[in-house]
Symmetry: C2
Subunit: 347 residues, 2 copies
Amino acid sequence: MKKGRSSLEFERPPVVEAAASVVGPKEGEGPFRGMFDQVETDPMAGKPTWEAAESFMQKEACRLALEKGGLEKEEIRYLFAGDLLGQLIATSFGVKELEIPLFGLYGACSTIGEALSLGAMTVAAGYGERVLAVASSHFATAEKQFRFPLGYGNQRPFSATWTVTGSGAFVLTDSSAVLKPRDRKGSGQAVITGITTGKIEDMGVKDSMNMGAAMAPAAYSVISRNLMDFQREERDYDRIITGDLGVVGRTVLLDFMRASGRELSEIHMDCGVEIYDREAQDTHAGGSGCGCAAVTLAAVILEKVRSGEWKRILFVPTGALLSTVSFNEGQTIPGIAHGVVMEHRDL
Amino acid sequence: MKKGRSSLEFERPPVVEAAASVVGPKEGEGPFRGMFDQVETDPMAGKPTWEAAESFMQKEACRLALEKGGLEKEEIRYLFAGDLLGQLIATSFGVKELEIPLFGLYGACSTIGEALSLGAMTVAAGYGERVLAVASSHFATAEKQFRFPLGYGNQRPFSATWTVTGSGAFVLTDSSAVLKPRDRKGSGQAVITGITTGKIEDMGVKDSMNMGAAMAPAAYSVISRNLMDFQREERDYDRIITGDLGVVGRTVLLDFMRASGRELSEIHMDCGVEIYDREAQDTHAGGSGCGCAAVTLAAVILEKVRSGEWKRILFVPTGALLSTVSFNEGQTIPGIAHGVVMEHRDL
């Protein structure tokens, strides 16, 4: 059902039937240690290249999500997938063997929000009983592509974020097809009741070492639009969760919201702020990358919604739309965000 | 309605209400001269960089499609868009000013098929009355990204294709909202009655100068799957139209089809083969790029369906999933294709 110009509310909300997270060693040692499904102790995961390692993690996340749901890959109708690399090579080589009809997506670090949005639209429309949404990032593939060779040991400013190595995968399922919670105890489920789709926001930020500031306007826009479209107040959400603004972007977002008369500080959470111990792990402004929001949703957030600790959340991964080409040509860094409303249900 | 595992048939087929094509000078001088909506006489379109020129063409294609449909940008619910460049920068900087909620897509040269598929799914599900699908490519941005600096003047083998400079945009509309054909004479319309979504196909081709051979298996797979899912024979289509296989890829596709007992040579058309005069324009195996299939559909194919000269076609843009990183690491070039069934209707 249409809600305003940017939002949809689903009459039959798709269920997040199963989810899985695979991360690298740094993420496995961070504040969420013990909560991920799989931690690779080698950032190359035994593969010859970083890109192959990222592809492997994406494949593993899909495999584990299917396994946890007791599902075969043949039960998945469509795959919505993406990553940060040029021409989505982590995805292409990651999901090839799944042999599932694929929609390749690029929303920078907002990609898992885009994948969950399109996946939920597909299931809610009855186009398929089950779809898979997956996204990944890798610190070394991202640094190689967007910044400097790791061997240079370049200095990172405190506004810079650390790209998360990991992948999160989610099976979205029509509620009539969810017989029982397969991969855990209890009867609580997390369902996607609505989405708010972002447009490109550009306030002229040009500093690729401060992507939090570049993305904050996109998060602000989607959150404001969501509250307006659904006629909700911020207190109608137990948490409003951004993907990877980091400490700088979070401050900008909270300031923007405050200027429009909304105080989010008590209910706002940013996956990038939470995923690392900033002091002990030397990650500066926090975590980032497609994987940041995806693994935090799979490993941490989802369980809190399923258990009912959080009844309703707004999940807003944010992306910075830049490439080395546009950066070197002096272009700005536009942002985009994709909002997903997730609610607790006893099915 | 589900058809097999990869296809959907729409109960309310979305109408291609308006379309527009913008191309560079080489395309404007080719066999389709006089049929495009706008021909830029300068490949840089007066912009400081090639990337800015490609963005401009994408914006112009959207603007013209809206203008031809007598529509305002506020009447468009979602935008499905993509290009070939890393992190989709042609799209990000091209469609920014439209301020339409955006789903960024990457399917290499199959992107317009992916955009039309997701756009049609969205309209047919009632999520919005109108969406816009757009894709672009540019010879110079693609050569710079995937191959060699133009100034090197490197030799191109005869199996290489020439990336089309141009962008095609399409407004897909719920049939109840199409009051009359706005941008032309006659009452005939082109509607999207179904889609067949491709999975990644990889037969091990590693030659980035022979992308036709890399993509042909993906086209073969989608065409075969479409015929099976819809229980049709090849003669049930007036044309089966691939995006940019070129002369090498076309030969491979026809051979594959023949081996499975189907003779496509009389009804097969490839946009890449048709868009240039191979001898006079020195384009070797033909045209390629997201723009190739998109501008040919907008400028040539669509009118034949609207007029009823072709009653039903299968449009299958194909993409080669490679980057310089994967290529330099010795990886193969997987392919993907997205099939769109377009039919004539008198509305």
